[in-house]
Symmetry: C3
Subunit: 350 residues, 3 copies
Amino acid sequence: MTPTRRAVLRGLGAGPVAALGAGAVGIEAASAADVPASFPAPSRRIQLYAVELPDYSNEKRIGYGRTPESASIPGPTIEMLEGECIEIVLHNEVSAETLEALRTDEHTPLGVSLHAHGVRYDQASDGTVHSDSWVAPGESRTYVWYARPANRAKGIVGTAGYWWYHDHVVGTQHGTAGLAAGLFGALIVRRRSDPLPAHTYVTAFGDAMELNARRYPDTDTYDPADPVRSNTSLVANQGERIEFVNIALGSELHTWHLHGHTWADNRTGVLADVPWADDVAVIDNKTIGPGDSFGFQVIAGDMSGPGHWMLHCHLQTHSDMGMVTFFHVHDRQGRPPAGEWPPPHAGHGM
Amino acid sequence: MTPTRRAVLRGLGAGPVAALGAGAVGIEAASAADVPASFPAPSRRIQLYAVELPDYSNEKRIGYGRTPESASIPGPTIEMLEGECIEIVLHNEVSAETLEALRTDEHTPLGVSLHAHGVRYDQASDGTVHSDSWVAPGESRTYVWYARPANRAKGIVGTAGYWWYHDHVVGTQHGTAGLAAGLFGALIVRRRSDPLPAHTYVTAFGDAMELNARRYPDTDTYDPADPVRSNTSLVANQGERIEFVNIALGSELHTWHLHGHTWADNRTGVLADVPWADDVAVIDNKTIGPGDSFGFQVIAGDMSGPGHWMLHCHLQTHSDMGMVTFFHVHDRQGRPPAGEWPPPHAGHGM
Amino acid sequence: MTPTRRAVLRGLGAGPVAALGAGAVGIEAASAADVPASFPAPSRRIQLYAVELPDYSNEKRIGYGRTPESASIPGPTIEMLEGECIEIVLHNEVSAETLEALRTDEHTPLGVSLHAHGVRYDQASDGTVHSDSWVAPGESRTYVWYARPANRAKGIVGTAGYWWYHDHVVGTQHGTAGLAAGLFGALIVRRRSDPLPAHTYVTAFGDAMELNARRYPDTDTYDPADPVRSNTSLVANQGERIEFVNIALGSELHTWHLHGHTWADNRTGVLADVPWADDVAVIDNKTIGPGDSFGFQVIAGDMSGPGHWMLHCHLQTHSDMGMVTFFHVHDRQGRPPAGEWPPPHAGHGM
């Protein structure tokens, strides 16, 4: 399968994009400045803004966005094709006062950064204090990521996978306050032969029983009368190929469980068409510790049918406290399941 | 390998079964009522009773059983063949008073339910509050499970695996009190080509350092003079193929460790006869979080010989507090290891 | 690839070895006494001493060493080839007074032991109290380990893998105090076709945010002017094949993360040269619970280049408290990265 324009476009953000090229929101021709010699020329340059989200909650929240206005928690999902090199320009619009208030280690400088999992980067794109690759308030910095392909003959692994990116300097030299505030997002690297989903949803399990920095019922803004698709409204029609990218952050153990669906515990969740694929474990519950990320594709409601399928941490104390949302599967014609939502009991006391 | 009568019979419970058909204890011809159209006709109907176990311990305990008299913790192991659809009729014999005493969320109704991992079911068999698929005291409900086969050409995973079933409504909308009380059991789905073990043992690691809702020495009722095989008396003769199904539940991390034996970290624990199977990790210790289950087959005492092989959580605080039992391997003639059991030191202070 | 003399020699310890045979430090011709009949004749006998390390820290520390003088935490890495059987003679030089002070379970006898993961051993080499396979102060005991090969036709797994060994009797019948004091080390079993690394580093994540029983900056004794290679000074030249063996012990969850490098989540971390290897997940962060061990080989600085690459637990509270070290990658000519080390900020407040 050759890469499609759709695959590239999806990397640009949630909104419609008028043109693929310099000048479109969030994309520009890439410069080759400071790109490691072993990397190919960058194919794209993405703008990323770290901004305060004052209306988000009573707690101090910070998000990444393609524009300052669209910053969110999780931040925008970044998609790459294996073999691609990209630039990301991080603009720090968080005030020094906010960063100072979040700081618990006096030796940590005041700034934000961008640290990626999975892709290749050199020290200048590490996003850490010791490598001096962070961004002071009001300043910008260009990070370069390379999704290097596998070289099986040499035993070298590729980059295709479900990864994430995050701050590494807010609060402490490990970005502990930055992560808690919301500075993280999903990073998907696709192999060119991978199937493309109809929609991708991101779930990040953090401390304090937070799912995408919210607790149920705030995790689920689904309205059957107006079923918008977003990371707080997981919707699909039966039969659609849906992708989940799941992240664990903070300092606690979690287990990621989805009702009514299963997946292979491999790179994609999808079974390869070879006899020995039968050996791979199939799961519907996965233990994840901080820093882990995984993803998979499933056919929505395949055999299980339409319905409100619970998605929760299987630690009982976590799910009871609201680490819960729902995957709302409509029928093949897009009609929501019968009955009111939320039902009388389910909206309370989770 | 074709499915054997033995494989089907084992699904019926621990005791001997006189006849395979309607009328035998715990089995009846299945009705086709309320079976999803995409499922095949059910091949069996299993009765399952949720009952209080007043003599079990000072704590409130509830178990599942094929009959009210045989309820146990874990509940009866349910076996299916991949491709099979079955019905399970759950009878709630737990009193409203007991359910009320266990309830910590006032919005949760008083009932018990059956939620399965791994198999396919529709919303009516989800076993949750929001789907209204639970059972009030004194009532019954039929759940339908389908062990759908893999379709490699379409990338769709199969169901063969080591799963579990549990309550999802006692105490809270996640069944937190039901799980703690004992409402869980193992669910094995076999591929028709999978080898059959001589015996299957189930270990469930829960909170409060409980292994099958007990702590050492209560976890190990083995008596060399009368070596009954049960989930509290793990016995084998050297050379026998033994299967372990292992479940994690509650809110804590565990690691499952068995002395003297190793297994492949794949679907079965057994190495496939293909060269690339050499890439699979072999383990003797596995991290499991709540909701996880896994299983494997080993040859008892293979190379390690007869002996009392410790099985424990490798979290030191957990094993020290009694999250321990033993796998007692007799010699090939069935003779127990020499020496008294338990030895003077080992029975104390675990 | 045939086994090389180097592979065998590396098993002997960190120091130079004058001769491979009886009389060399830490190696002798093996006796065949008490070797299980199903094992091949032992090829080597290794001496291992358990000794107190009074100068290590204010806490009571005990380590294993090939000689009493070279005892360390972790203990010496033991390497075996799959198919090999070896003897290890454990000498307990820890005083009864120290063992008494560490004991929290009065039923546990005063001794030390050797319990191995992965390899085959009989009850006499289990290293547990109930099997009476421990060593009193001033005494010695010979343990026998067999790295049995895989038998794919029979579905039997091999032993090649990244394992560990540890005490199982100090303090409690699970060796809780022995592990906390430092009685553990890495055990590598190589398949004969496995590539050999230029260097192997061991990291053990324990309780109290300890990495190899230390916290940053004590975890990293690297000096660019004198870059000694050790388990507290992780150094490589760009392009070198480096092996990491990683252990979790104690009672806490950890996640093992390395910046700038990725590996396959399989037995070796290296991608097999078969098309279906594309299904294996590639990771740079791995959840590990107590008792787990894993390892992998990477090409140092491959694409990411020279630099100081952070290695840390990704639990934020753990990394903030010092569960951190660095992998220092020099350029291909062995020159350290430019700039002072540690930099002004990075040495403080981790």
